[in-house]
Subunit: 208 residues, 2 copies
Amino acid sequence: MGRTAGRSFDRMDVARAAWRVIVRDGLHEASVRAIAKELKATTGVVTYHFRDKEDLMLFALDRLSQGIEDAIDHQMRGAVGPDRLLRLLEATLPVGPRQAQGWRIWFVFTGYALAHPRLMEEHRRRLDRLRQRIATELSALRKVGAVAGTVKPLKEADAIVALGDGIGLSHLLRPELYPPARQREIMWTYLGPLLRRKGRDSPKSGRA
Amino acid sequence: MGRTAGRSFDRMDVARAAWRVIVRDGLHEASVRAIAKELKATTGVVTYHFRDKEDLMLFALDRLSQGIEDAIDHQMRGAVGPDRLLRLLEATLPVGPRQAQGWRIWFVFTGYALAHPRLMEEHRRRLDRLRQRIATELSALRKVGAVAGTVKPLKEADAIVALGDGIGLSHLLRPELYPPARQREIMWTYLGPLLRRKGRDSPKSGRA
DNA sequence: CAATTAATATAACATCTGTTATTTTCTTGA
DNA sequence: TCAAGAAAATAACAGATGTTATATTAATTG
């Protein structure tokens, strides 16, 4: 085989190489040859593991999406009450290098997807899942009395998603204006009036 | 010349054709030949008016940016008090077909620009100008006592920009979830606690 | 009207793209 | 050890791309 160690490439290796190329050089430069080069391999590896380029791109996007959801699950594990919502948002906002890079890839894909129905579908699904998760949390908080009974979870979730996406987008353009602390501050300025603080106030420092 | 009427093409005609292609087919399909075809002309027109493709793209983006600013100026003309901020936001949010299309182009360019320093510069400038304008309005409102003295205009402007961009992005992905009325509702839910309403409350219906 | 220039069309270029086919190399199992 | 199959490399192709050069046409001016 081609590599020094015994293991060979799999689909995930190719997808990761594609991510790196996209982050560094943009989607325009992410040709089959460039991705193979990033892998330190040849185009044969790519064509062997994927039917065509759309297959590769859909796979790369799907795995990115799934990785983000796994990160959300991981961060929320064991948390209760309003802390659950906090951690959920921490996993999506670009407050760390990992999230920031994910955001970047996602965003580049989004711009491309606007003219490609298949990719657009994937984006909508991700948005819907996030929306539902946030709404679920709000629902639970409402039952416990942590948010007002007048709050409609799905509608409020839409607003939170929009604010989160906006913070992510702004961060991509001007990272120095939207450091992690500022991101949290903006988000909690919005969330503040929504949550009936019993005892503690909004959090000062977040988790990585 | 090529066209039925006597007038010939100029740089703006080419830019408009580029916009249409980008909106319809995406940036990947916006080749020199495709843009010329959209113009119902040949590539000669494009190469005559622009040094190279980057020249064309920078021009197209610059004119888009300027068009949005002109729209802001036009909508704000004559308005006073909090109404000025309202109209400013109305001009940027995708509450009408014109703004929505502008948003779409802008967004596609942004995804592309992330790997292109020259275009990135232009994006940052636009963000900064918008930020400054919003901050100016908040400053004026603070002097009049319409917003609390504790509000820091620039910081608050950053949050508003983020929310606005988020609404625009969300609208692109799921227009049915973010119709104009909903966009305004989200924005004013955030702005509400910021503005000391004297007399009237937040607006129910906006301007086109 | 003729000559000059501006505007557009056409043609040709080298390069890059995704894809397919073929060949080589490595791994595995009997 | 050696055949069989998997994985990777290589080669080739048709088409598209940005760019440049040239030719053609329309407008302008004297």
